[in-house]
């Protein structure tokens, strides 16, 4: 019977369970490195929006460390190029946070770092629906939407070319129509407001009362009659005062509306200037202003740099949220639905990811030739827990015969009132790749140059700068295209091909919604002067033609609108004083009668002497 006694535990199954656990351990030993390598590459690829390859990964459980070899991060904008390659990476982990499924790296050593290296096989494009893929598209679209540069790649300046404009294309026509409606509604509102005051009847009745009293001897009215008359006069005066108050309000409203109409006229004129530019664009005229030439030549290159910087700043913003609020992110990829994984950061606890300290060695030249030191610290997924910004500092000189000096500092501050990500870099002696000029049949190879770059994103505010300085530039032309080049293009080529110096500076400002970009180069004035000398006269003619085409369509409307607004203004402002004067007159008459009545009422009384 004792065998039939119910037992809670099945002790003889402990053996098979231990065997099962042993199998799990063996599987871990055999496959953990491979799985971790695949997962790390996959997660990094998804986060950065580009292919990330890891050649090897070894977990050293006893040392709580990981060795990574052959890390390559592809350039999301050029599939045949790696942005960064790292020879070896050694990661020393803090084992305690691992029990909370958190990764805290005490020390990370990165050696054999290379930048912008070629790839043997093209990188896989980012999943367009991934967060990083979307951010890349957003920032590319941002550049397209917010920046338009004047073109220098033009055909011949053709003043004979007919220019037919459709009135519907012109902003002036639309603005004038809108303003015309506003003028009419303003006039109607003014007339209705004035009519509602019923000033004429008030003035008439008040004057009639005053006249009637003037003809009456107060002594014949008796005390009650005088009292009634005084009351009537006082009420009439009150009505006049009330009407004057309303008239003043109406005057203020009218002045405000007229101010808006004047502003509307200014908007119409601004639209007209835009229409001139539009018509000018149809004639494909080059801009010969020096700042426009800088933007034509280097605007594209500038926005290219700033777009990349904004993309990475946005990625940082996405994955490093400020504050300590729960943070939702997509769940792990699996056969089952991924769902949403929520992180619940807590003060005085470990963040989900923290890199306390990292050091970088470059792979250029021998150790003796390098005085380069780079380090980064405080990189975390929850900066509010750490309470200090993530920093990267790199400084020194690398290479022997042709040394490159680097001075770089970056900071990401995602806690406190306003998050801020910034980078400042200056690299001297670096050979830069050729810069093509959009639409023009030539490019410039800056050679050994000094490159400066700065970028900052603080909330919505953008600040950026890039500059290049070189005295060893080489100009390259597509000879076949150059032979058939226009006058403008061949003139530009003649100017720049004689120069050996290149200095460009671009400055980004404003907000993400309203960015501003100024680009200047040492080529601007030289090209502008030369082009103005060559084609300035033709250009003036063409400009006049563009203006005339717009004026033909809009002048009459704008002039009529101008007259209408001015008429309304003069009529309204002239009418109000007349109305006020009539009210004043009636009030004075009534007050005179009031005084007379009061004198009569107190005539028989001896007032005490003061």
């Amino acid at each position: 019977m004792s065998d039939r006694r119910f037992r809670i535990f099945r002790w003889r199954a402990v053996g098979p369970l231990l065997l099962f656990l042993l199998i799990l351990v063996v599987l871990w030993v055999l496959f953990a490195d491979r799985i971790a390598r695949r997962e790390a590459a996959s997660n990094l690829s998804e986060t950065l929006g580009t292919e990330v390859d890891i050649a090897s990964l070894r977990i050293r459980e006893a040392d709580a460390a990981v060795d990574i070899g052959g890390l390559a991060i592809a350039d999301p904008r050029d599939r045949m190029r790696n942005l960064i390659e790292a020879g070896t990476i050694t990661v020393d982990l803090d084992p305690v946070p691992l029990t909370e499924k958190k990764i805290v790296i005490d020390q990370l050593r990165l050696s054999g770092l290379r930048f912008l290296t070629g790839r043997k096989t093209p990188a896989r494009p980012a999943d367009p629906n991934s967060p990083a893929g979307k951010l890349l598209r957003e920032t590319e679209q941002w550049v397209q939407d917010k920046f338009q540069f004047p073109k220098l790649a033009l055909g011949r300046i053709d003043t004979v070319k007919s220019l037919v404009l459709n009135p519907e294309q012109l902003g002036t026509v639309k603005a004038a129509k809108t303003l015309l409606g506003t003028v009419d509604s303003t006039r109607d509102a003014f007339e209705q407001g004035l009519a509602a005051l019923e000033l004429k009847s008030l003035v008439d009745s008040s004057t009639a009362l005053a006249n009637q009293l003037a003809k009456t001897d107060p002594k014949t009215l008796g005390l009650t009659g005088v009292r009634n008359s005084v009351t009537s006069v006082q009420k009439a005066i009150d009505r006049i005062k009330q009407a004057k108050g309303s008239l003043q309000t109406l005057e203020q409203t009218a002045k405000s509306s007229l101010g808006e109409l004047q502003k509307g006229l200014q908007d119409v004129n601004a639209a007209r200037l835009k229409d001139y530019a539009f018509a000018r664009g149809l004639l494909q005229l080059p801009s010969l202003d020096a700042p426009d030439i800088g933007a034509s030549l280097f605007g594209q290159q500038s926005t290219d740099y700033f777009q990349q910087a904004l993309y990475y700043a946005k990625i940082v913003q996405r994955y490093v949220p400020p504050g300590l609020q729960p943070w939702n992110r997509p769940g792990p990829k699996r056969t089952r639905l991924a769902g949403t994984t929520v992180e619940f950061p807590k003060e005085k606890e470990y963040p989900r990811f923290l890199l306390r300290q990292g050091d970088i060695d470059l792979a250029l030249g021998s150790a003796a030739q390098n005085t380069f030191k780079a380090s980064f610290a405080g990189i975390t997924s929850q900066p509010a827990l750490l309470g200090r910004p993530a920093t990267l500092v790199a400084r020194g000189r690398v290479g022997g015969d042709s040394p490159v000096s680097i001075d770089l500092s970056a900071m990401s501050r995602h806690f406190g009132s306003s998050p801020r990500d910034s980078l400042v870099a200056r690299v001297a002696g670096v050979s830069l790749p050729a810069i093509p000029f959009p639409g023009l049949p030539f490019s410039v190879s800056p050679g050994k140059s000094t490159l400066g770059f700065g970028f900052s994103l603080a909330g919505d505010r953008l600040t950026g700068m890039w500059e290049i300085s070189s005295d060893q530039v080489a100009w390259k032309a597509d000879s076949a295209r150059l032979q058939g080049a226009s006058l403008v293009e061949s003139t530009v080529w003649r100017v720049i091909s004689g120069l050996s110096e290149l200095q460009v500076r671009a400055e980004l400002g404003g907000t993400i919604d309203k960015p501003t970009l100024k680009v200047r180069s040492n080529l601007d004035d030289a090209i502008a002067t030369r082009l103005q000398g060559l084609v300035g006269e033709e250009l003036v003619k063409a400009e006049q033609k563009a203006r005339a085409a717009v004026d033909q369509l809009v002048s009459q409307q704008v002039a009529a609108l101008d007259t209408k607004v001015n008429e309304l203004q003069s009529q309204a402002l002239a009418r109000l004083p007349v109305e006020r004067g009539q009210l004043d007159g009636a009030q004075q008459q009534l007050e005179a009668q009031l005084k007379r009545l009061a004198g009569a009422a107190t005539g028989g009384l001896k007032l005490p002497k003061l």
Binding site: R7, A13, E100, P326, G331, G339, T340, T341, F344
Partner: protein, 172 residues
Amino acid sequence: MLTLLKLLQSLFQTLHSEGTPGQVAAGIVLGAGIGLTPLLSAHNLVLFAAIVLLNVSFGGGMLGLALFTPVGFVLDPVFDRIGVALLDAPGLRTLWTDWYNLPLVPYTNFNNSVTLGSFVVWLASTVPLYFLAKWAIARYRASYGQKVMNSKFMKGLKASKAYNVYSWFRPQ
């Protein structure tokens, strides 16, 4: 095909095992926990250890796993909604925050909406599922059990080596 055969083998062996209907039902309930929730979570290791170590039907556990895994896939959107509602509930935020910062607990992936939702649904259904399974097994044994037990298929099944391994986990 082999998987299907093994499933059948497990099913029949479970239904005719020497375990009481209660032991088989308890196994099914624990197996359902593994089947309903996403597999790679620490709590499933605990559930598996419970099926092995507790005196419940191991076959019942495997049967529960086999039956409820497809159910889990189908109900994932429901689990997700329940999980999101629980994780976003302001009243529970302190609890989740404490758990998130405890050792080992985060390995259960409780902070994933599907894992939490499916686990909560499983937890809520354990008692009704236990009684339903217990009733169904008792009824089966009373009506069809003996006939199936004497069938050639079942005799062949019992003669196989797999049955010997299975018998290690047979309820006592």
